[in-house]
């Protein structure tokens, strides 16, 4: 009986750990890939800290001094953004400078990817940033909230 309860609890906890982010190419950027990189900052926030923004997940990755990494990230973002329901992008010299994408909702949650490649601009911190956000808030609400 106890064994069954423990197994059930494990299954529930594992199921709860799966987010709508699963299945995206950018998922491979988060986790162990950059966590030990001295030029990278990875942020993962879930739950109560994001309550005010009606978001349930915030992930970001900033990689400095590595334009090559920017290209890799750009590729993954572009691939994930193919089926975006809404997008705003800006290009410099044929490369993606910024992209804000609203992806197809998954598991009843809105999903957003923000990408910015500062390597393409002079006088800016040489870094590339990718942000993944997930929650109930709509793009309009996000824009209204932060304008």
């Amino acid at each position: 009986m106890i064994k069954r309860i423990i197994l059930l609890m494990l299954r529930v906890s594992l199921t709860m750990g799966i987010s709508a982010q699963e299945g995206l190419g950018i998922n491979q950027l988060f986790g162990n890939r950059y966590r030990n990189n001295r030029n990278a900052i990875e942020v993962l926030v879930k739950g109560k800290e994001l309550k005010d923004y009606d978001l349930s997940l915030f992930r970001s990755l900033t990689v400095k001094y590595s334009p090559d990494e920017a290209k890799v990230i750009e590729k993954l973002v572009t691939a994930d953004a193919k089926d975006a329901v809404d997008k705003e992008t800006g290009r410099i010299g044929g490369n993606l400078y910024f992209g804000f994408y609203q992806l197809q909702p998954a598991k009843g949650k809105h999903r957003y990817i923000f990408f910015r490649n500062n390597f393409l601009r002079k006088n800016q911190e040489p870094e590339v940033t990718i942000v993944y956000m997930e929650g109930n808030t709509t793009l309009k609400e996000l824009k209204n909230l932060f304008k």
Binding site: I2, I5, I6, M9, V12, S13, M16, G17, Y34, R35, N36, N37, R38, N39, A40, I41, E42, V43, L44, V45, K46, G47, K48, E49, Y53, F58, S60, L61, T62, K87, E88, T89, G90, R91, I92, Y97, F98, F100, F114, R116, N118, R121, Q124, E125, T129, V131, L142, K143, L145, F146, K147
Partner: protein
């Protein structure tokens, strides 16, 4: 307890009846009532005769055995009674531990606030949230030291105000 026994009585039983009961006793056919009568009789002076020594010895042996057996049963039931509450307490404690651990796991999965800064893990919510702001900031971090609102606003200002690129919508 002192038994009030009439020394001259054989409890309404004749010598033959007593002998018959003893015989039945050895055959294992006596009733409880008959055994009680026999016991009472064996406590009377009439039972001092040598021929009752055997029945006295057997009944005494059985009585002692019964007492030992009853004591064992009593001890065992006491043990069972004393073990059961411990079992319940142990089960409750295990339940609490599992519940707390489960709650912690679920809580940890639902509420995460962590940053890996230059290879070092940071779990200070204020510092992590400041990096959330930084992640969303485009030009000058010093400009937007204030609120998350300002920081996130920067994303949208980047989208709407930057003219240094070819914009696609």
């Amino acid at each position: 307890m002192i038994l009030n026994i009439d020394k001259n009585r054989t409890y309404g039983l004749s010598q033959e009846e007593i002998d018959c009961i003893i015989e039945k006793y050895f055959d294992g056919e006596t009733t409880d009532k008959e055994e009680k009568l026999l016991l009472r009789f064996l406590a009377t002076p009439q039972a001092e005769d040598k021929r009752y020594n055997e029945i006295k010895a057997v009944m005494g042996f059985v009585a002692v055995g019964k007492k030992i057996y009853e004591k064992k049963i009593e001890k065992r039931s006491k043990k069972i009674l004393s073990i059961r509450p411990y079992r319940w307490i142990a089960a409750a404690v295990i339940g609490c531990i599992i519940g707390t651990a489960g709650w912690k796991i679920v809580d940890n999965q639902q509420n995460v606030c962590v940053a890996y800064i230059g290879g070092e893990k940071c779990t200070d919510p204020q510092l992590v949230m400041s990096h959330v702001r930084q992640s969303l900031h485009s030009n000058d971090y010093e400009e937007c030291k204030g609120t998350v609102d300002n920081q996130l606003n920067d994303i949208f200002s980047t989208i709407s105000n930057d003219n240094d690129y070819d914009k696609n919508e």
